[in-house]
Amino acid sequence: MIKTLALWAGRIGFPLIFMVALIWLGRFPLNWASEDGMLRLAWRMVGTNIRLCRDYTEEERNRLPKHMQLKQHCTTSLLTYRLRVIVDQTPFLDKMVKPQGARGDRPLYVNEELSLTPGPHRIEVRFDPYDPSLGQPEPADPAGKAEQSALRVALTKASLFHLEDTIHIESRRIVLLDLNEDQKEFELILPPKS
């Protein structure tokens, strides 16, 4: 009798324990310990083209199909940008933002998260085109010179972004910094009042 009872208790008990375990694992409370808030820098920028063109040689042109025999061969890439963030006069971030894509011709994406203690913070954010030729000797060969010249043209056209402001960080809230490429300025988006 006791054996049969124990058997049935086991038969019914196992699915019960299994389901309770499944429910517990399926809604496991995960805690994030930090009380800090966050400044999130997140934007997409189409960027500035570096267009480099050179004339085809006669031999190169003849190798191409008729409909592709243009006068010039052009390649397009995008300028690399440098992102610098200073919070409360302390440098927080300094990094190069390269255009996406294997050929570097896709937009630039920034997604940086800076954890900050609750309270007011003075922030300074700069997003400027990066000139890789700085400090380098002038190229002597014609190809190098053409590259240099295309870079210069792109640099003069490129937008510079700069923001200096004081933000108030709340516990576990996110202040979003976006970039408006048309207006050529940063956009600070504060969280709605909780």
């Binding site: 058997l7 196992f14 389901m19 499944l22 429910i23 694992l25 399926g26 995960l30 996406q100 969280p191």
Partner: protein, 533 residues
């Protein structure tokens, strides 16, 4: 014979012992609770399929009400349907969790039984692929709700994905805007969440392609009991709604599905690249198991061969093969007595030897394990052990109880280890009984825990129901007993053996040694070749 080194146990990966210690005691408990037929651990593969179909069915209902433009609100609407949507949504989640657990147990069992290599590679690789797709599908499903869990899981998953070089726009951007992701994002997610399960079902077909008449679903009582438990849990413990995802809010305490998102906090503890490398390593380990988890010595697992010059074309091996590795081909030139002969496809053969047990003329079988070879072996066994009228010979699977039973060293009980119980030829039993052995006890593995398939079923049919290669009526079939015990059920097997031994004592006077045994003509040849005394 048991003194002969087993081609399997001596060559199993060493870690199999760890799995044995983990799984066999649990098997024993569940066998006692539910019997081996309904043991949920044995049925882990079919239970995984049942859970999959349940998630698909419950997902279809939710699809009717889901709106890509209002993801959170539409799920909240479902949750408000106390009469259907609420528990259907919970059942969807619980069965998804159950599926992952069942898949994990199933994979462990397959490793324990050495079903990762040889003809089983296709099943193993497709199983690994399905598991990967299940994980991806779960990710898309969690994000669809667009609650606090969706935000955390979506963002961390996207961060992980972004370390791969082929996204031209980072996926994480969907979660870092000041507004919720656009409807197109949820539409794409929904599409993937529907396409993935369809892919899994297709892969399930490939997964079981090399198995004859595969059983996809568990036995009906187990199926009904599982569905009842799921629905009861869904009604009693609905999921409820978490706060809506807020792009300006950092997580505090979020309830997550740990089975699918155990990796969530790794992103903040190790660089995303390392984290992805960890997944890569796990995937690589899983996919490469057919090469690192296989017997070191695979000589004992050569595929079956047939002698087409003598094959009678009876088709029994073709009918019995559990892996559809045997086809009937036109007989070779010059054969007039049969139109077809059996041919083995070595790439599909798992070397179970079931064909050897099904072949009346004892022709077909793995090298050294055809009926003729087994007959010679059983004669040597008889000469060496000389089992008397009060003795029992236990035939049992090497991958089951063989070594454990032999280790027990019981008086009057002689253990004959078989590659598979279904690979034994009934002439072996006839020979032993007619040479004065008291009784034969055949222990096969439980049907769903067999290293091969259908061995126990076919041997039972051959002994009691006149299936071809049958045990002849001229022997007393009451002196033969067939049973199934799992590898962890030694005490139960010993108890059953003791009962059988008492029965045999009572019949001992019936057991006579006929000396020269006059088996069928084919067997006679074999016996003469072996030099019977």
């Amino acid at each position: 014979m048991i003194d002969t080194p087993s081609p399997y146990f001596n060559t199993r990966p060493r870690a199999a012992v760890v799995l044995d210690a983990l799984i066999l005691p649990l098997d024993r408990v569940f066998n006692r609770l539910y019997g081996s037929r309904y043991n949920p651990l044995y049925q882990s593969g079919t239970l995984a399929v049942l859970f999959l179909f349940t998630t698909i069915a419950t997902g279809l209902y939710q699809l009717i009400f889901y709106k890509v433009a209002l993801p959170y609100e539409s799920v909240a609407g479902l949750e408000a349907q106390w009469w259907a949507g609420r528990w259907i949504r919970a059942v969807h989640t619980y069965s998804g969790d159950g599926m992952l657990l069942a898949v994990g147990v199933h994979a462990l069992r397959m490793m324990l039984q050495g079903k990762t290599w040889g003809a089983r590679v296709l099943a193993w690789i497709s199983g690994m692929l399905m598991t990967g797709v299940v994980l991806l599908s779960a990710w898309t499903g969690i994000v669809l709700v667009w609650d606090a869990q969706a935000q955390v899981v979506g963002m961390e998953g996207a961060r992980l994905m972004d370390t791969l070089p082929f996204f031209s726009e980072p996926m994480v951007r969907n979660f870092t805007l000041s507004t919720p992701p656009p409807g197109t994002f949820f539409f794409l997610n929904l599409l993937l969440h529907m396409v993935f399960p369809v892919g899994i079902v297709l892969m399930l077909y490939i997964h079981t392609l090399r198995v004859a008449k595969p059983g996809w679903l568990p036995p009906r009582p187990l199926m009904a009991w599982t569905l009842f438990t799921l629905i009861a849990a869904g009604i009693l413990w609905p999921l409820g709604m978490m706060p809506k995802a807020d792009p300006f809010q950092l997580p505090d305490r979020v309830h997550v599905d740990l089975l699918y998102t155990w990796w969530l906090k790794l992103n903040s503890q190790i660089p995303a690249g390392w984290h992805l490398a960890l997944w890569g390593a796990l995937g690589l380990a899983g996919f490469s198991a057919p090469w690192w988890w296989r017997p070191r010595n695979r000589m004992g697992f050569a595929p079956s061969v047939n002698n087409t010059e003598v094959c009678t074309g009876c088709t029994q091996c073709y009918l019995d093969c559990p892996y559809e590795a045997i086809t009937m081909r036109p007989a070779p030139e010059g054969r007039t007595d049969t139109e077809t002969v059996a041919e083995v496809d070595p790439s599909l053969c798992t070397s179970c030897g079931i064909c050897a047990g099904s072949c009346a003329p004892m022709l077909i079988g793995p090298p050294g394990r055809a009926g003729r070879n087994l007959m010679i072996d059983v004669q040597r066994f008889q000469r060496a052990k000389k089992p008397g009228p009060e003795d029992i010979v236990v035939f049992t699977c090497m991958q089951g109880l063989a070594t454990r039973l032999a280790g027990a060293e019981l008086e009057g009980i002689h253990v004959y280890p078989a590659h598979c119980i279904g690979a034994l030829h009934t002439s072996m039993f006839e020979y032993l009984l007619r040479r004065g052995t008291g009784g034969l006890y055949l222990i096969g593995c439980p049907e769903r825990d067999c290293s091969y398939r259908r061995g126990l079923r076919w041997i039972t049919e051959r002994i009691y129901n006149d299936r071809e290669a049958e045990l002849k009526d001229r022997v007393d079939k009451k002196r033969v007993r067939v049973a199934s015990f799992g590898a962890g059920e030694l005490p139960e097997a010993l108890a059953a053996l003791q009962v059988f031994q008492l029965e045999i004592f009572d019949k001992a006077h019936h057991a006579l040694d006929e000396g020269q045994v006059d088996l069928d003509a084919e067997c006679e040849t074999v016996l003469n070749e072996a030099g019977d005394d």
